[in-house]
Amino acid sequence: MGRSRPVYLNLFKIRLPLPGVVSIMHRASGALLFLLLPVLLFVLQLSLASEQGFAEVQGWFRLPLVKLLLIGVIWGYLHHFCMGLRYLALDLDIGVDLPQARFSSWLVLAVSIGATILTGAWLW
């Protein structure tokens, strides 16, 4: 009480525990997806515009570098997705205690990375 808000934190003095690490990854992936919105909209537009546009997009996605970038974006999406489900569970008072919160953080990492590897294998 009585402290002036908002409170600013010095990020470099904080050593994060695992739930903190996956949380900051949630932020980072969210910011990345926001920055990529125009690219994603452009790709959607081109892929729907015409047969040639669709073929052009398919051609890009066959390039190894683009595939790698796409897999990175898919990881960002899946991490954000799984963390989102974790937060929704926390809102429902599921997994609030520390051991469960740590476990669900591992689970988010494992599921999102596992699903990314599966998707990557399917794409390649």
Binding site: M1, R5, Y8, G30, A31, F34, L41, Q45, L48, F54
Partner: protein, 115 residues
């Protein structure tokens, strides 16, 4: 009465709810799209006819609007936490709002020009 200093004008609960409602919309749409990728061959014909159907078009528009609203709350929270100078922070807020409004119009244009 308890005297306390609050920040902002009680937008917290509303934004909390908006962030979760849009998240649920996006989650269901994502599962729908994953289902399409897993069950349908990906060709121009299948891709185009998917987005030609009005229910899918409306669902896609709801999804994209959810993305934009969700992105606004998220980006604003990030800026509030890390960007301390007021002028720069508010400039970034305005830039994000304008970008998201442009994306909203763009999304309508993309979805409603599918033939």
């Amino acid at each position: 009465m308890v005297k306390r200093i609050v920040s902002g004008a009680h937008y917290g609960l509303k934004d909390w709810l908006i962030q979760r409602v849009t998240a649920v919309v996006m989650a269901f749409y994502s599962l729908f799209l994953i289902g399409f990728f897993l069950t349908q061959p990906l060709t121009y014909a299948s891709w185009n006819s998917l987005f030609y159907s009005l229910p899918v078009r409306l669902a896609s528009l709801l999804f994209l609007f959810s993305v934009l609203i969700h992105a606004w709350v998220g980006m604003r929270d990030i800026f509030m936490d890390y960007i301390h100078p007021t002028f720069i922070r508010l400039t970034l807020h305005v830039a994000v709002i304008l970008a998201l409004m442009a994306y909203a119009a763009w999304a309508v244009q993309i979805l409603w020009s599918v033939q």
